[in-house]
Amino acid sequence: MYLTKEEEAIYNGEHGPTLQKMMEILVALGDIYGADRLIPVKSAQIAGVSYKTIGDAGLEWIESLEGKAAVPAVLNPMGMDRDAWADMGIDRQFAEKQEQILKAYEKLGIKAECTCTPYYLERPKFGDHLAWSESSAVCYANSVLGARTNREGGPSALAAALVGKTANYGLHIRENRYPTVTVRVKEPIHGVEYGALGYVVGPRVGDGIPIFDLKGTPTEDELKHLGAALAASGSVALFHVLHVTPEQYILPPDRMEVERQELASEDDWEVPKRYFLPRNKIEVDMGGVRKLMGGQAEPDLIALGCPHASKEELEAILTALNGRHVKKEVWVCVGRSLGAKNKAIVDELRRHGIRVIYDTCMVVSPAASRFRRMMVNSGKALKYVPSMCGVDAVLGTTEECIEEACR
């Protein structure tokens, strides 16, 4: 891999041992994946935050580093709400270790904002290169916003944050971003059905790049749930939606002849709709997908906000409450800044008995495992809750979840 003089100097330790290690990580990964050079990133989002995951070794490593982030950097959700851990039933020892980890990151100039929706803090622009870790955030940035990021591991995202660069491979390169499989859904779908669709299609797509041919136009929140579930049940890091997501219209002229051969039929080729649909197809039976929903529920926890809720989703919960006070335990997970920015809505939700928790979630918090059955409105949570918390999960719409909470 080609390094500039300055990068070479960092690699040789002329800027101190921390940056040297970080550069070694970037170079090793670049060599493994065949990158030609390093490219600047606009921001980083770093996994490896929960004490449950990285343990004392991870903590010690982060504490041993010195330096300051070269680009804006935030963290992945952690095991608890920094201010409300006691309320969540987290023990003191865990909380202290968790706090130590946050402090170690803060010392490196990384914001202790622990969210899987960093795009609500600062929305990346089309074509921006990023170094993000969390699978649903990666999927959203690539697919919905047209930014470019691979799914970084914790140390490599941290390296990118401190150096301000990442290796140029994978999804940073346009030619690696074309769709590989067409997914056709023949009837209109709404809300939670997008998460359910992702849950069902993910394993069939694997690490491919699907392009969805849908009836109707999904909202950004619906795309968020589709991507989060695709990333959780498969390992999708980029998807396209015909006529909706930003990237399918930018096929370069020199690729057009190639693409033309892969068209489903000649009729699909209409300028200016310069998309193509790969021949490899998945036809989705929504009847089967809907079977994921509406079973016998009887949950003892209703948990919303996976990925972390948007302002619109908070409003939808408030609307569904319609003035009622919840009778069951209800969590809504959001990023701290988004909560602070929408304090009026958050206060209102809390007044109705809902626990709005910051910077953690039902999947990563050890506090979730004391429940028996969780009702969620997210395909991603449906996938992860049983395996990661050892808790049964059922899927419902936001409205059904709130009805159940008020019953």
């Binding site: 290690k21 070694e24 990580i25 090793a28 990964l29 060599d31 493994i32 996994a47 490896g48 995951t53 990285i54 343990g55 004392d56 070794a57 991870g58 010690e60 490593w61 591991g153 914790g154 140390p155 490599s156």
Partner: protein, 131 residues
């Protein structure tokens, strides 16, 4: 005999070879306190990695494995050096953050060319392995 390979993690170390035909997951595969290989059915099950030049095809399993390697180093039971057939990110990153010299992509298959107990010197900086 000196084999030329590729630098993954810099530094130089020597030790006796411990060769595995199976990939290694450090998370759940190696006890971070003792360096014992604890994955049942693994080619190295029951052996210890401490001070060895660990030769194996590549990593597998969870990315947390990188931190387990760091823990091994802190506990003084890490391998002295690592030689992989094809390196992948988990072990590569683990070796770098732990300061364990590591080389991959040799001109020969190291899992076949190197035998258990051979004295091996790994120079991660120049990307060479001397047997």
């Amino acid at each position: 005999m000196i084999y030329k390979g590729r630098t993954i993690s810099k530094g130089r170390a020597m030790g006796l070879a411990l060769v595995s035909k199976d990939p290694i997951s450090f998370l759940g595969g190696v006890d971070p306190k003792t360096g014992d290989v604890i994955e049942r059915g693994h080619a190295l099950y029951g052996k210890n990695v401490k001070g060895k030049v660990l030769v194996f095809p590549g990593g597998k399993g969870s990315t947390v494995g990188s931190y387990v390697m760091y823990q091994l180093k802190k506990n003084g039971v890490a391998p002295a050096a690592i030689v992989n057939v094809r390196s992948e990110p988990i072990v590569a990153v683990g070796a770098i953050i732990s300061g364990i010299p590591m080389v991959d992509s040799l001109s020969v298959n190291p899992v076949e060319a190197i035998k258990d107990g051979m004295a091996v010197t790994v120079d991660g900086t120049s990307g060479t392995v001397e047997v």
